[in-house]
């Protein structure tokens, strides 16, 4: 028979462990947002250089998690100088009028194991759409690493208007991969370097 005292200590330890790790310090220099578009069937990689955000995530309590990410669209690299120059323009992202894109989570749920799913509002070029993004979470040292992939339909946001709305040259589906690194607040205490 387990003594009530030992059981009590175990519960305290578990609760303590769960509380100790809320990952909430996004590390922009380690965080990556890359995408792959398809042009005439050719996959072309690109990415964003500047991303900021606030995250609160405790793997033991995903339903309390929240995320807000903001992407500086002028930091885009569309794979070639010519394409990068083109996509900041009016027909694509219209960065002058809409300098940032944002994601605000509305709910997060566990899918089992290290897999989770975030639902939220994605706003690009003044248009807001609901987005569901599955992701995995791994703890690496004192940092939490979130990795996910989702497909964005560019025409939902008016990305590529006029002649560019022809999806037989540039496909409607753009694959987006995110790799977000967030430290827990007690990074230095937990993991002295």
């Amino acid at each position: 028979m387990i003594s009530p005292r030992i059981a009590g200590v175990a519960v305290l330890l578990l609760a303590g462990a769960a509380q100790a790790v809320e990952f909430n310090q996004v590390q922009p220099e380690k965080t990556k947002l890359v995408f792959t578009s398809k042009q005439m069937g050719v996959p072309v990689d690109g990415g964003f250089g500047r991303l900021t955000g606030q995250i609160r995530f405790d793997p033991a309590e995903p339903s309390a998690a929240s995320a807000r990410l903001e992407i500086d669209l002028s930091s885009i690299d569309a794979g070639s100088a010519e394409a990068t120059e083109e996509v900041v323009g009016k027909q694509w992202l219209n960065v002058k009028a809409f300098p940032t894109a944002g994601f605000q989570s509305t709910s997060v749920k566990a899918l089992g194991g290290d897999r989770f799913e975030a639902v939220g509002q994605l706003t690009i070029k003044g248009q807001t759409r609901e987005l569901t993004a599955p992701f995995t979470f791994k703890q690496e040292g004192a940092a939490g690493v979130f990795d996910g992939v989702f497909v964005l339909k560019r025409l939902d946001f008016g990305i590529g208007e006029g002649t560019w709305s022809d999806v037989s040259t540039v496909a409607n589906e753009i694959q987006i991969k995110f790799h977000v690194v967030a430290a827990s607040q007690h990074e230095n205490v937990l993991q002295p370097h």
Partner: protein, 186 residues
Amino acid sequence: MIPATPYSATAKLAHWLIAALILAAFPLGLYMHELSLSPEKLRLYSYHKWIGMTVLLLFMPRLLWRLVRPPPALLPGPAWQLKLAEATHWLLYLLMAAVPLCGWLMSSAKGFQVVYLGLVPLPDLVGKDQALGTLLADLHSSLAWALMVLIVVHAAAALKHHLIDRDDTLRRILPFVKLPSGDTRP
């Protein structure tokens, strides 16, 4: 009188098919290059790459065929002309492979994989490297111009044989032409 031996049907087909593809790829390359970025430009770049890759694809069997089944001997002429003709032919083979190969290398270096006919992804020959891409673009352009100059010289020589020498040099590689044997002029 030396009876003119025609080229084999396979050699004729390879000759004219590849000639047509090169003569399509060249002006397309010049034209597309000047366009500002648009869906049309992306389409034309792909067509250009597919046409060029077809040349490269046909090049191997063509060369093998030539080595296995050597073409009929050149019709008699001054030694320097025979030497020049021979050299031109080998240089044409070299460039018809080098130009598309260089295009493929360039495309890889610029970070654009070649997907043949939009269906078959081909491996990247080199990693993404902007400086190398620019260098290869210049090389591709120069080699393509050299190929064109050579094609003009080659075609001019064939026409000279046909119109001035009035021999069978051109006729024996034309499709659908039967050579009455012994038709050649001395």
